[in-house]
Symmetry: D2
Subunit: 338 residues, 4 copies
């Protein structure tokens, strides 16, 4: 059994990692921190985790052999670096090690990176694109929830040079993506029965998508990303658009996507619009690529659970790869529907 | 036109008063305060109120002829008292002037009343029970949202001595009743798709219901009140139980309720279970009284919009009475459904 | 007072027209039909309309001077034509008279048009584009809910030749747009906490948007429209994309939109992302145009209530114009929020 | 591995059994029926069950060693009886074998029982009360969702003779309890943001609660049951009231409940109001018993997932007992929150 620790278990990413760790046959959650809630038992904060009988601490205990950090950016790099320095394998849920270009990071996050020298050794944790690097990495940067859908949607198209430079990613996210911190704008009465865009001046997940898609293709792409808050707890639906460079029919594009992801345990290529709720609580991603002949456009719709494949589930999948476990271990439960 | 002011327009009660004032042909909203948002234009805080072109202030301006206070308890009495002292007619949305017995107030609210000598001149603002006193009052205590449903449900039964001493009020409220202040427990992800009781040690609306029902009957009643948060924005459904003292059939009880409320413009006695959504945005209350013969119990189900008849709409209705306007003025819009 | 009739009052468009007719000072609802519910009193079907004391009939009564038809397409043209033939002014909520090109209609709706010879005398009921024609028309085709947002969003850009040929309209609609008819796919448990695209093979509102935008510009545009169901009852948020033909900054585009809509009573140009809930129950449309310099794209976000400006409210606005009433009459109530 | 079959997999109870069967290490789903959907692959109906690669059939195949029936009442007894006659162990999710008294069944369900002679050999499947009988039974009647909460809430009180004759069970259920069949009243727009009571003339789960509670106590109790639909997908919150016969304080009642359920793997006795969402997808029941001294009443609040402990999870738990598996097998996943 591997002893794992979770830094900042008191947010939704941290608590979801704890839920999945509990179901994993090779993991043992031995320690967890949570800023304002240190000293409390976990089940006071999250009654659904009552079976995990631990007290939230100020610092992780010494017997931890694997660390997940669910702190916000900057704070995460700072805290995690001590484990990285000690050679303890780690996964960072924050954005600190996702962007390879320091300047891009510092521009978009408007902050000095606390440990820029660690960036080169970090691996972007999307197994569908970087499986082998993840297996050999000690520091994995878990992808953002929106980029997971956006990159997986367009990767086959970009690698096969199917689309023009401009890619539009129009995403609809459940509110849990906004985190657990109390804010007036995230109150139930504000968001229930409501829908709005945000981040219209530029959202930090945009450079992350651009980076990964540009690793793949010969020709540069630009991403225009518009996130929207919709009135649900979990799930991200992404509608991804790219103008086709050449004629292609729907069957061809479906086959091409199926081929690209043929060995992927969590990717399902479907031929009808997927719904986020069919992924609830699971690590699956649905991708529905289709062609609109009248405007010669490729549209790819993606559906996933932002807290699982968009966060905690991806972290477990990455940890499995890093530790040499079966990649799907602990991630076998079906979605809970309805 | 009457110049009105709203103290603390930045909560849901205050903003709902503003919405209704705008539609009222005799009212002009000339001034409004809002603690942390003073200096901002109203439409920055509430875009739906953009037609009301005012700036939120620290203090109400001098040209106000009628005051609504939507401050929390204690703060409300303190601030309102200056208007009461100046003879300006006022409605207090808070609980400060609802309870006639000072000790009961200070016990349940765990606070010293800032202006106890004003309590005797305040009228409990439920027109269905106190219409004439309201007409002659300068200070009206707007009822709590739960008591409005509970009292209206059981008043005919208590006055006619139909039920035993114990009255159970089991209420299900939309989340807007919790106010607009940011709290972790009221975040969308916490409350969406969720249901829980609260205030199980005793909720402050209980003595208010007991007070009003005991004014009516010859025999004392006791109220057991259990509020629940349900996953909706507006609406309170109350399920009110009383053991019958004597045999009564459903027709008789329906007739008795219809008779009791025969001149009431906002009370509808119905013979099937009402739904909160049928009151959305309106001042109506549905009451469905029925008998369960097998246990000899009277059950009365009430449905209302907690922000209208449970708060701002009642305030407008009371103001109409105090000012000698038509009682229903400004309250004629139908519920918005679905 | 004008005597109005509503054909098919038992759907959400029909009942919403009834709600607005009730608040209109010059209208009197004298007759209404509803297929399976003929013979029932209106309040049995819609308790919130209890104040409108009418019985649902098989056919409209003879004293009707103005007709709203909320029947589905084809059925609507067939039924309405008798009133059109008699010279009674009418508004068709269905799609039957929206498309000027018969072939386009018959292709997209896969049906023979029952009265094609009436198409030329029908006016597309978007007052912001066709105010004068509407004033002089006896038959108005009320726009579709999605086209209302899409056309209003892009009309200033197309007329000023700002954007390239391809316009992407990515819309998120509340479920009431799907109507009231019982279907497994529209059950609460299926759609709550869920999000999905539909109509991905081509939605019938696409040619409607293309038609109206192409009336405006010198250069032809093509519309790619993707509708999505989100977990809310009312509201449509549209995210509309067009590649800019020339450099333009945000201020210029805001000014240009403000100028275009400067006399419009229901259009609000805003400089921050609007939310659908701020239009709940009202006839307002929010438009937020902005530029993404990094991809040289114009994005316009629109928010409206699909049952009001997207349907019944637009019908009242059109009727006001046709009858010579004040355009905003009966549409003055503020949105109900939260 | 045990080969199991599910009759009527196409409703929410049937599909939830399938989800749990998939996670159970000793079960193999080999056959499933579903009335109107026979011939379709399961993942066309329920995409979240795509991993279970079976075709829906008209009749169960012959290799089934254990049967779950999720048909409606009457149809269920009729279909199941052939398996019972063949000695195949079976669990009936419907109400057909819950009531021991034939007349009570035929009165409340207004139907002739198709196989009344089987009633005596059926066991009421609440392991907390009937564990040993279930172990030795070949036909188990899975409890209703509401009775599960109501009986578990009041069993310790009734057995210890703490409360007077009248027990009030006020329950709030998520909409999935209404099933998957398309009905106008269960459309999203009708139920979203809404709350209403139903079954006010008497709901069929009432005699079930009365039966089980009266097996326990020396003194007869009567149950007054009021179910309510609230705007969520899963979960039942029950608020259960009984007047105390003697003085008792909160600590005593908590201890008494903890003692009663001390060996129960799925019952959690808590000392603060539980929330339904903390049980989402899991077999746990939270019980919060407390005393209201001012009215001398015992209140017990219960929270559970209506589709798990209220239906499919209880069925798996019962099957485990009948087959001699570990009682908690396949039910170990934590609730999914938020």
């Amino acid at each position: 059994m591997l002893n794992v620790g979770i830094i900042n278990i008191t947010g939704y990413a941290g608590s979801e990692i704890a839920r999945l760790v509990y179901s994993h046959p090779e993991l043992n959650l031995v320690s967890a921190t949570g800023r304002s809630k240190a000293g409390q038992y976990l089940d006071k904060v999250f009654p659904h985790l009552e079976k995990i009988n631990i007290k939230i601490e100020e610092e992780l205990s010494d017997n931890v052999d694997f660390v997940f950090s669910a702190l916000p950016h900057a704070a995460s790099a700072e805290k995690l670096s001590q484990y990285v320095d000690s050679g303890i394998p780690s996964i960072d849920i924050s954005a600190d090690f996702r962007l390879k270009d320091l300047e891009t990071y510092e521009d978009w996050y408007d902050i000095k990176h606390p440990r820029p020298e660690l960036i080169p050794q970090a691996t972007y944790g999307l197994p569908e694109l970087h499986r082998n690097e993840i297996k050999n990495s000690k520091l994995v940067a878990n992808p953002g929830c929106f980029p997971t859908g956006g990159i997986l949607s367009m990767a086959p198209a970009v690698q096969n040079d199917l689309v023009e430079e401009l890619i539009i990613v129009d995403s609809k996210t459940g509110i849990s993506g906004a985190g657990r911190t109390a804010k007036e704008a995230f109150g139930f009465s504000e968001l229930n029965d409501n829908c709005a865009a945000y981040g219209t001046k530029g959202h930090r997940h945009q450079p992350e998508m651009a980076q990964e898609l540009n690793f793949l293709g010969k020709n540069k792409v630009k991403v225009l990303f518009t996130p929207h808050l919709v009135s649900m707890t979990r799930g991200i639906l992404g509608t991804n658009y790219g103008s086709l460079k050449k004629d292609l029919d729907e069957k061809e594009v479906l086959e091409l996507y199926k081929e690209f992801y043929k060995n992927e345990p969590f990717i399902k290529i479907v031929s009808a619009p997927p719904a986020t709720k069919h992924t609830w609580g699971s690590n699956f991603v649905y991708l529905y690529p289709y062609i609109r002949k009248d405007t010669n456009t490729l549209v790819v719709i993606s559906a996933l659970d932002n807290l699982v494949k968009g966060s905690a589930g991806a972290a477990i999948q990455n940890m499995n790869l890093m530790q040499g476990f079966e990649e799907t271990m602990g991630l076998g439960a079906l979605p809970v529907y309805p």
